[in-house]
Symmetry: C2
Subunit: 553 residues, 2 copies
């Protein structure tokens, strides 16, 4: 008889920062009962995913085994952990557990996707246990850059797993759950078999700093500002938003929150009771009447997002408010790698307005992730038999595994799609399942390998030539008709590119044999080849070509 | 009678880091005799310029006034200073002056563009003077991250201008001209009217570090590496390449240079005599036979460029060489903002191979630009009446102007297209000329506002629908024919998008009135509108639509 086994299978988040989705299983091989931790999204970019709305993990494997899925657990309300819950729920259909603030957001995702929000259940914290098949799961409160983040203590017949989620060790997090070493030691007591651990900041060599360090610096900065102050941070960093608002108040300013995400987060905080004594804010209508030197705006768009309040202020007005010379704009945030261009665009737009920028300063921002010495400390406190790094690009996972191995622990880099057996003394990958990315493209879910986005990238790089010919029997009817899009109008022969193409293709048609003219595929191929050659001669580029052959019979 | 005036007009580089082109003029307003300093390019990106090959400053104003242009001076051989010389020369036609290493590169640019390379003249250094109309120009040797960089001492009837070009204050630059304070003081002696000054590193608050600091660190790092070492840096940073090669040698390794730019730069260094005693290198053929632990490769691609040697090694092989577990890859460079994604992609690919990465460390890289305290020092030494910041985004120029103003100097941010009068006691902008960017698109030069690239961005974001209808008189002949590119094949009705579009458009055609069917424009507009509506219903996106109406009469 085959023995039961404990497996770990990341479907997203292992080898990237984004779209987290981690599966655990316990039981007979191939018949393990399963739980899923997190179901997030990644955001597209022009380089690789132009026109895509959202990127989600491919959960095909899990959907095929949905009858084995006991439950879904969401660690916190960041988009890369909760963002795909609504869109993918119908393929998984298992109860979703989350702490109240996270649940609030998960329920909104469900509603937006036309799903029933009530399947998302509010979870109490450790030591409360949620039973899910062979798994006994507790939410371990911890600090991160959003309220009510949690790790998971997952007890299985093969031993205890601690899945950290995103976390930092902050004893004074301003809002929410401080790091409680005694609690972590209590969790370590029965022995931790596997630590599955956030790797984001493994390359940051200093110990992490507390959210509480930021407040006094903000008070100082804002009280010294002579004109209007506008600050941006992640809307979900409610502790930061609160500290910003309090600093504004302390400086005698009226505070106004701008941007949909900002207002929605605060509302979530109020409705779920995590917000505490948030300072009173004013509406944007009232803000317009407040003297600039008495006003502070807290706005969305710290990553340069084009539609957020920051970018709109950088382009001119937002909700009737605008920046002016001598105002201060504060990025109470760090630019996530890849977002630099958008952020820099905003900075320069403000600079042109004469706005004073405060940016990329550690004084007004701390990270929400555990740094290298903090990770070391967690390894030491929990003293796990194995460490599996997660939530990181490959280089982060590899470095984190090295760190654990240096500490004498079994450690393994397990990437998306790798099924890792955790049952024995050391983790080992036993099989691979197909994983990929799913794109939300407009309203449609497509696979990243479907070629749709690849074609759009080709159009962006090469432009498009459309060739239209009409054939009657085996005779061309009239001349070919050419349209171009995204190509220079005039080529090297100084004549319109369209004319040169029509001329060359027309001459080809006149000379073409009956066999070619009767064969749509052959005719299309020949016209395409010739159009590319002519374009290459004329403009030094081979465009995408679509040939439409219309036949009159 | 109108007085003569001294003007400054940046056509590129003032409000951006890239495509430098600065005009100076002296004479009667509107009849000033002109010189141009630098003529560089900027590189395209997917976000704003997909498919573009190179970006150049719009020199239309200068081309229209080419009869007033006395000479062109190139400060150094970086692409953002020399890259557009070949492509734009035919519109300017003035003698080009450059120091020998820079001249070598300028001449290659001329040859590539089919121009006569001999118009680029080798310049001696200060105190040698080149007369160009009312200007007397000397090349001031200074240190930067490429050999033979120069500032310009420009004497005019209105006073002395010092145009720094790109520079740092390095007394031990390893290769080339050390910072010579006595020389700078000599230049300051007659009085400097205007300092036009590099602003790149104005936000770096520590004094700049010397290239010589890097060498010993490289020796230490490379001598301790157990397997093959691969290092990348800018090919043009010949001093760094030399230090890398020497460190490899010191560690008993054979050194091989990989990548076209790397070999070309070294060749330029040899031919112009700036290279000195560069260590012997081996060919790539020989490198394949050297035991890995005795081999060091120095490769192109520090910015993640897809076609460079680094990226090719990250994807697998380059010239028969490949990376293996335990090898070390060193970025002896800094990632330029905007290039993060490409660099990170390479890092993770190497991580997957088990290659140890050394990256983003100040230990193995120093900047080629003067930091804030260095700028301050230059202001103090030259003691100019006015400071005009250049070579920076708007935020850099603004910060640099503030720094100068704090030192009690007249300072002004002058952006591309602004004509600044320097004649009096303070600089002031007197007019604006049209400036823009020119794109090299394939082989064709197009304006950035021509709409060509905008159309390609639209195709990338929205996809393309092609609608083809044939009309005979006022009757549609057969059904419309639809092709799509870059769009999901199946929409929300579960039928092929193409079928749904053809069905909807066919029904429209059947119902369309004679007036519509006889009017190409109206028919096209209606079909386009309907195609977008149907697509929006089916896939949640409004694509670009091209309608081709063929008429049989």
């Amino acid at each position: 008889m085959t023995a039961d086994r404990l497996i770990y299978l990341p479907l997203g988040g292992a080898g990237e920062i984004g779209m987290n989705a981690y599966v655990y299983g316990y039981g007979k091989p191939g018949k393990e009962r399963l739980i899923l931790v997190d179901l997030g999204v990644t955001f597209p970019d022009m380089d690789t995913t132009p026109g895509v709305n959202l990127i989600m993990p491919d959960v095909s494997w899990l959907a095929e085994n949905a009858d084995r899925l006991e439950a879904i657990f969401i660690t916190h309300a960041h988009e890369d952990h909760v963002g795909a819950v609504g869109r993918l729920y119908s393929r998984l259909k298992a109860p979703i557990h989350a702490r109240p603030f996270t649940r609030y957001h998960a329920q909104r995702k469900m509603e937006e996707a036309g799903q029933v929000p009530e399947v998302v259940i509010a979870a109490d914290s450790y030591p409360q246990v949620i039973e899910a098949g062979p798994f006994k799961v507790s939410f371990l409160p911890l600090s991160h850059s959003i309220p009510e983040s949690a790790g998971l203590v997952i007890d299985t017949p093969a031993g205890r797993i601690v899945h950290t989620g995103d976390f930092k060790l902050d004893e004074t997090p301003v809002l929410g759950d401080p790091f409680d070493e005694a609690l972590w030691r209590e969790i370590a007591k029965p022995g931790v078999k596997v630590l599955v651990c956030d790797s984001t900041n493994v390359f940051s060599t200093h110990p992490g700093r507390s959210e509480a360090e930021v407040g006094p610096e903000l008070v100082k900065l804002i009280s010294e500002a002579p004109h209007m102050v506008v600050a941006t941070t992640f809307a979900s960093n409610v502790a930061r938003v609160k500290q910003l608002a309090e600093a504004g108040k302390a400086a005698g300013r009226s505070v106004c929150l701008l941007g949909r995400a900002m207002r929605r987060m605060i509302q979530a905080g109020v409705e779920t009771g995590v917000l505490g004594d948030f300072p009173a804010t004013i509406t944007v209508e009232d803000a317009r009447d407040v003297p600039r030197e008495n006003l502070m705006l807290i706005v969305t768009g710290s990553q340069g997002e084009r539609r957020a309040a920051s970018a709109q202020l950088a382009r001119g007005k937002y909700m009737g408010l605008s920046m002016a010379e001598g105002d201060m704009f504060l990025f109470s945030s760090k630019t996530i790698p890849g977002n630099e261009r958008g952020v820099i665009r905003i900075m320069n737009a403000f600079s042109e307005m004469g706005v004073d920028l405060v940016a990329e300063s550690d004084r007004y921002h701390v990270s929400g992730h555990a740094n290298r010495p903090d990770l070391q400390r967690v390894h030491d406190i929990l003293d796990p038999q194995m460490v599996i790094p997660m939530h990181g690009e490959h280089r982060h996972l590899r470095e984190h595994a090295k760190l654990a191995a240096e500490g004498g622990r079994e450690a393994l880099v397990v990437v998306n799609g790798a099924v890792c057996d955790l049952t024995g003394d050391a983790p080992h990958v036993v099989e691979h399942v197909d994983t990929d990315r799913i794109y939300l493209d407009g309203d449609i879910l497509i696979g990243s390998l479907d070629g749709v986005v690849r074609d759009r990238i080709r159009l962006a790089l090469n432009g498009h030539v459309i060739v239209n010919v009409i054939v009657e029997g085996d005779e061309p009817l009239g001349d070919p008709w050419v349209e171009i899009m995204g190509l220079p109008e005039i080529g090297s022969s100084k004549a319109p590119l369209v004319d040169v193409l029509e001329e060359d293709l027309g001459q080809f048609l006149m000379r073409a044999g009956r066999k070619t003219l009767r064969d749509d595929d052959k005719l299309g191929e020949e016209l395409k080849r010739l159009a590319r050659k002519t374009a290459s001669d004329e403009i030094g580029r081979k465009p995408e070509v679509t040939v439409v052959v219309s036949r009159l019979e």
